[in-house]
Symmetry: C2
Subunit: 259 residues, 2 copies
């Protein structure tokens, strides 16, 4: 039987909310077995940009990562968010090691090709360094990833945290039973966005299609669910969406995504 | 015979100078054997503070690390400086892994006790986690430290980079032949600060005392040399001061500190 590894993604907004960050780090630190954490960005990067007078660059409603935005992302995600999270986890006895995709060449990406839009310093994942990741897990460490990769030629790149979580789970799936957990402020995917009690216990592609056709799912949830199905098709064992309570063995309310 | 490990400290100012950073990373990447890098801060933190309108806090001519200064240090040293250096080294085939003292609990410190001066979030090193450091080296990685530690209770702390280099070399000295290299813009300790050709090949405590008494050494060099003698007394095999050319086996001009 393959050993199990848990890949947990937590939104950056969550980590910036006093009270919630303690709830999350407590739940994550208590999880048994091999585990990996990926944290998103949150509002702090936007706040820092505003304080520095850096205007967000938008093209066709999409955010562009220019050189100034990349510098802010590396400082905030790779520096402040990553290190304060690692220090908190260490205080709870969790042997966290903060990394970006550049560290130990863990995630190599290529700059997104310029098509209709030039996204700037945005990286599409090319390869996860499974031997290096296994070496860190084997040393008893808990890798904590920020949403940054590199191109192997000296350039850091900005990469979506949900995508990084999925790619890590897929790569680990080759040798582990990999379980992917998307944690956010709600208890799961809601049938009615205005009713926190309407958590859907299981979503498969048929239900997804019918909810999508009926426009019953929040728009932001669509790419996330698409990611989840892809992960399952590419070897991830199980995929869950919910609040940090999801990380406890006594978990009750959450959404599981299945094929 | 113990295996040799090289502990290299590079000043932050060096890394911010185009041309010099390539010289340094090339020389470091080419060094054979086990190695560890420690980088200092440089002017970028000061520049960011200025842009953010954060006034440097000084007491009796000494810089204080208040909460705002710590945040800047974690963003700049732990984020931008560390990750861009790691990405550069990776591009040269050097398996760099960027860390702070919080990562893998590598360097635990305590907040400097408040005496005549409250230095703020400044950490005095308590313990280097030798098993974790050995595990990273054993995995074929090259740890790249920024000058940040943690207190084990969730707080990041600012720690002098020269001190971190010395403490790492001392800890590694217990099981390795540890060689400590302080790299900066000059070729070594100068007998005459105005003559770059006046590099002193070997400094022992007697010569140090006579140079100090004759006020022939730059003031900034005194604590550095004091650190070097202490390192040798605490088990470090050899200590060198010089330019990055020092890292090459063909090195010719440099200063070696001996007891």
């Amino acid at each position: 039987m393959k050993p199990t590894v848990s890949i947990v993604k937590i939104g950056g907004a969550f980590l910036e909310t006093p009270g919630l960050v303690e709830t999350f780090t407590g739940a994550f630190a208590a999880m048994p077995g091999l585990k990996v954490l990926i944290h998103g960005g949150g509002q702090r990067a936007t706040q820092l940009s505003t304080r520095l007078g850096i205007e967000p660059q938008m093209v066709d409603g999409r955010r562009i990562t220019d050189a100034a935005a990349l510098e802010v992302a590396v400082m905030v995600y790779g520096g402040w968010a990553n290190k304060t999270l690692v220090a908190r986890l260490q205080a709870l006895g969790c042997p966290a090691l903060g990394v970006s995709g550049a560290d130990a060449d863990l995630i190599r990406a290529h700059k997104r090709p310029v098509g209709a839009i030039d996204y700037g310093f945005v990286g599409d994942v090319e390869q996860v360094n499974l031997p290096a990741l296994k070496a860190l897990l084997g040393a008893g460490l808990v890798p904590v990833f920020c949403a940054l990769t590199h191109d192997g030629k000296g350039q850091m790149l900005n990469t979506n945290a949900d995508t990084i979580a999925a790619e890590l789970a897929i790569a680990l799936g080759a040798e582990f039973e990999s379980h992917l957990f998307y944690c956010f402020e709600k208890e799961g995917v809601l049938r009615d966005v205005n009713d926190p009690g309407s958590v859907i216990p299981v979503i498969d592609p048929d239900l997804y299609k019918s909810l999508k056709d009926g426009q019953q799912i929040a728009a932001g949830m669509l790419p996330k669910l698409h990611n989840c199905f892809q992960s399952l098709q590419r070897g991830v064992g199980r995929v869950f969406i919910g609040s940090p309570a999801l990380l406890s063995p006594q978990r009750k309310t959450f959404t599981e995504v299945t094929l």
